[in-house]
Structure formats: structure tokens, C-alpha cells
Symmetry: C2
Subunit: 321 residues, 2 copies
Amino acid sequence: MPERLTIKDIARLSGVGKSTVSRVLNNESGVSEKTRERVEAVMHQQGFSPSRSARAMRGQSDKVVAIIVTRLDSLSENLAVQTMLPLFYEQGYDPIMLESQFSPERVEEHLRVMRLRHIDGIVLFGFTGINESVLAGWRDSLVLLARDAPGLASVCYDDNGAIALLMQQLYQQGHRHISFLGAPHSDTTTGLRRHQAYLDSCEHYQIPPCAALPGLGMQQGYDYIAGVLTPATTALVCATDMLAIGASKYLQEQHITHLQLASVGNTPLVRFLHPEIITVDPGYNEAGRQAARQLIDQINHQQSPRQIVITARLAPPITTG
Amino acid sequence: MPERLTIKDIARLSGVGKSTVSRVLNNESGVSEKTRERVEAVMHQQGFSPSRSARAMRGQSDKVVAIIVTRLDSLSENLAVQTMLPLFYEQGYDPIMLESQFSPERVEEHLRVMRLRHIDGIVLFGFTGINESVLAGWRDSLVLLARDAPGLASVCYDDNGAIALLMQQLYQQGHRHISFLGAPHSDTTTGLRRHQAYLDSCEHYQIPPCAALPGLGMQQGYDYIAGVLTPATTALVCATDMLAIGASKYLQEQHITHLQLASVGNTPLVRFLHPEIITVDPGYNEAGRQAARQLIDQINHQQSPRQIVITARLAPPITTG
DNA sequence: CTGTTAGCGCTTTCAT
DNA sequence: ATGAAAGCGCTAACAG
């Protein structure tokens, strides 16, 4: 273990006082160009880096944020986390990850622990069942993802826009009997809003609605697709990519090839397995970016909680070649 | 912001000195039962929790470990990370996550940053191209996953055993013409070792080898399976689950149904999409557990670097019903 | 058993 | 423009 250098050492080596080193470290004004350069040279040459803990102790903040995902292997959440990580690092925050496994209790437990750790902020991927009152205490240092709650900062996907885009696309392609596979209304965003958007589009295009709301996993898609297929059905909209994958599996097994699938969630897996599915990209990457930015701004009191909605975009068709 | 309490406050509130509080906090002996209880009562009642940074400053360690995954959406790595997170938290370590994206340069960059941050330890998911000399400086505080390197702690999968299990299973089922899809030998474990194990099994069972080593992704499986199918082929072993998914897609499209697939990597996705595939579980969960344990032990100087191999196990066939 | 006293590495007055 | 000194919250001798 090479003994760690401290600003004291740097001060000695560059023939200045501790405070000057500190000033250089923090890019404060009031240091002559010459001194600054000299100190910087020594720091660089010695590969010096200040102790995080000591700095944290003086300031208020530990510069740590928590990211609570539902599951590590959620493809959509992965895409969001992927973009926020670099942002946090860039701003000097250590992002630590936690899994809620869709359990509200686990969320509460994590929040409790994070509270004790005096963490600076939290990005929480929302899901059905989270008690909003639990989040109240985090008003100023929490950003909710994929869900919104009154008084809390949130980054949401444009559920309505996403479904509308799919429906419009299908309608333009001549489909007049479009079914829907979604999640129960207890799930406000993915469940209720997307279903409502479907119904709205049906009305708008004069399409007879035909929907089932089993949930958002592969298995549900597989198990429940049969229930929404009528002899007239020519297309099926799925609220999530996982539903679509499950549905596709069923269709393959039944050798049903005439059905056009469409789904929200432009993940790499779907694009590979089923490039023929029309997908809408809810903007996972962008959501991650926005969430990180919002949280950082909130921590720095440069921004108060606000609700952000990410615009959905039709994914370009895949050109096989 | 409620002003944070310090041990000083707790000391005052419970009418003892700071050090006594500190002793209680650290479960040190030499405190009368009465005092301890009183202090603990106050701490609990006030919801007190000590400042991490202050403690870190006194001790040597920040209690932070980094987990460098190749990609956030790697299913196998997810399974490993899933089990290590709780262990790290339990031991008071903050696990922070980083993505290497299979770029050796990014790994070096991350290591550089982590060095500056005076992190306690690192779990690194290995891949082809990492320069081992870069890791030399981390001998005592790094655990390599899915790869091994001389002098470094590592947790590896039993490549040989995994393939042998699959081959044995297939042979027992009567297959005599088994092809193989793998990765190039530049990838020492997934590539070279699994291929070698395949060849060994072939020799052992007197099976004519027929292999291609395009890589480990879905697309490669899809693109290269045709090259290893002869009229006699009745089974195909894939070095990874993703290869198998790609291969399956091809088979479906070509309406080839007589081929038995087998693969390493018992991930939920494969089990759902293709329960008919015979899979071996390399022990991702166990690998995560072992890696975390090993790293923690190393940090605490209770263990020197050693190479751990996880035993592979045949996944139970899925009972549909 | 318990309180007092030094610091840990850094930031922040306050002098100079 | 720069240094000296006083802490931040905690732990670790050292006295009682």
C-alpha cells in the first residue's frame, strides 16, 4: 500500500500552504497563475487525488446517488440506466444500484437504508403498488421513472403518443381490426394509459376494440393472445415488447403468419427476434438522460421537482440486407 | 433539511461522552450493559446514523466496491450481479456499477478513475482483449469473473464440464452427429475452452466434429448455423444461450424441426423462448456469490487471491403444464 | 468502565 | 495572493 498523499504533502512539495492547494483543487479564484500551475504540476506528477470522504465531511454531501431498478435484467430499464451512469460519473456522483424486484416492501426497505446512508438522491423506477406516501419524504431528492406522482419529479413515457403512433401506422397500412394486449389498470401507465389510448384510437378510427389486460410479461402474451384474436383480426398492438415476444411465440407455434404485430419498446432483442414487428421507441435512453439531469439539478437546488414526458418515436423499419 | 445529529448530540442526550457512543456504535466491549442500552435507546429514538464519510476518514476504507460489467443488459452477468449486490450491502459496501462495453480501453479508463477514487475493490467481468498487465496493480483488490489470469483472483465457469455435460446428455439420447457453434479462440474461455471440450467429447464418443466459431451473439448464431449442418446432423451444441437463440431463429424460419439444440447458459429468456433446448446452468448466481465473498475476504486480508471454478449443472427439463 | 484529547484530510474564515 | 488555524464527525490512544 503506497501511503496516500494528502494536500499537506502537495503543499510541502510545491512550497505553498494547504489552503492554496485546496483553492487550486476547487478551481477557486484568488490564486496567481504561476502558483496554480506549479501546484497543478505537482498534483499531476504525483498522481494526487483528494480524499472523497474528507471532502464529503466538510461539505454536506457524500456525492452518492442510488438507482433503484425493478430488475437488473429489465431491458428497458437497462437502456435508461445506460445513459444515466456516465452523467452521474461526470458530475462526481457515485451511482449505486439496488433491485426492487417489483416489491413495494423492498422499495421501502431500500429507502430506509438510503436515508440512513445520507445519500444525495435517488432514481426510482416505478411500478404498481408503490405507496406514494413513502416517497413524500424524498420530495427534493428523488426522481421517479416510468411513473408519475403529484409533487414528485418524474420522467414518464408518452404512453398515449406511443400507442397512437402504432395505431396510426397500422391504420395507414389498411388494418381495420386491431386487437390489444396490455396490463391491468392497477398499473397506471403501462396498464391504464396505454389501454385508454388504444380505446381512444379505436374510436377515432372507428375500429371495434378487442383487448385483454393480463400483464406485461412474455408468458402473459403467450397465454392470452388467443383471447383477442377474432377471425377478422389483422393486427395486434402490445403494450410492451415482452408481451409481443410472448405473443409471437404463440403465433409461430400456431403457424399464424398473417397477423401484423406492433409494440411499444424498441429493444435490441425484439429487433433481432422479430424485425417484422412495428415498434415504437418510448425513448428509454432519453429518459435516463433526463432523469439524471433532473436529479442532479434538484440536488444542486437549480431545479425544483417537475414532471417530464419523453416523446415516443416510431422505430425505423429494419432493412434486411 | 433536518440538521444531522452527530455522536456528540447522542452523547449529550444520553449523558455520556463521545467515545462511549462510539464504542456502542462499533459494538466494542468495555461498556456497561446499562450505558449501552441507554445510548442505543437514544440513538434509535433519534433515528441516528453515523456519518459514513467521517468513519471512512478515520479508517482506511471508503467501503466502496466497483462492479464492471461488460454490458448492463448481459443476461448472464445480470444473474451474477443479482447475487452479489445483497452480499456487498450486507457487509456495508456500496457497490457502484460501470459498463465496459467490451472495450479494453474503457476498462483501463474505469480502473484509472477507480484508482483515483481510492475504491476498496473491483469485480471485473472479463472479456477478450483485456490487457492483463493493466490488472497487475489490483492484485489484492480485484476479482475477475468468467475469465482467469495468473496471480489474480478469479471466478470461472467450468467450460469443460458444461460442454461435457451437454455432449453426454445428447449422446445418451442417441445423437451421433453433433455440431458445435462457438466463439473464436481469441476468447480463451467461451471460445477456446468450450471448443476444445467439444473436440474432446467428440473424440471420446467417436463423433465426427463439425464446428464454427463465429462469436457469441444472436446474430452470429443465426448467420453461421447453416455452415455446421450436414444431412447427418441431429444435434447442435451452442457455446452460449445467445448463439442458441440466433440458431433457433434460423431453424424456425427454415422449418427445421428435427434438430436438438443444446446450450450453455440457463437464462430465463431461453427457458421461455425455447424450453426444448437442453441447457446447462454454469452457475451464474453462485459465481456472483463467490466473487463477492472472495473480494470481501481479500479486502479484509482474510484471503489471498485464488482461482475459483463454479461447477456446471444440467438444467432440469421444463415440465409444460 | 468512561471521559478527555488528538488527530484523519479537507474547507473555510481570518489574518497577513 | 497566501498561510495559519479552526473545525467537520468520528476513532483511538491515554488517563482516570
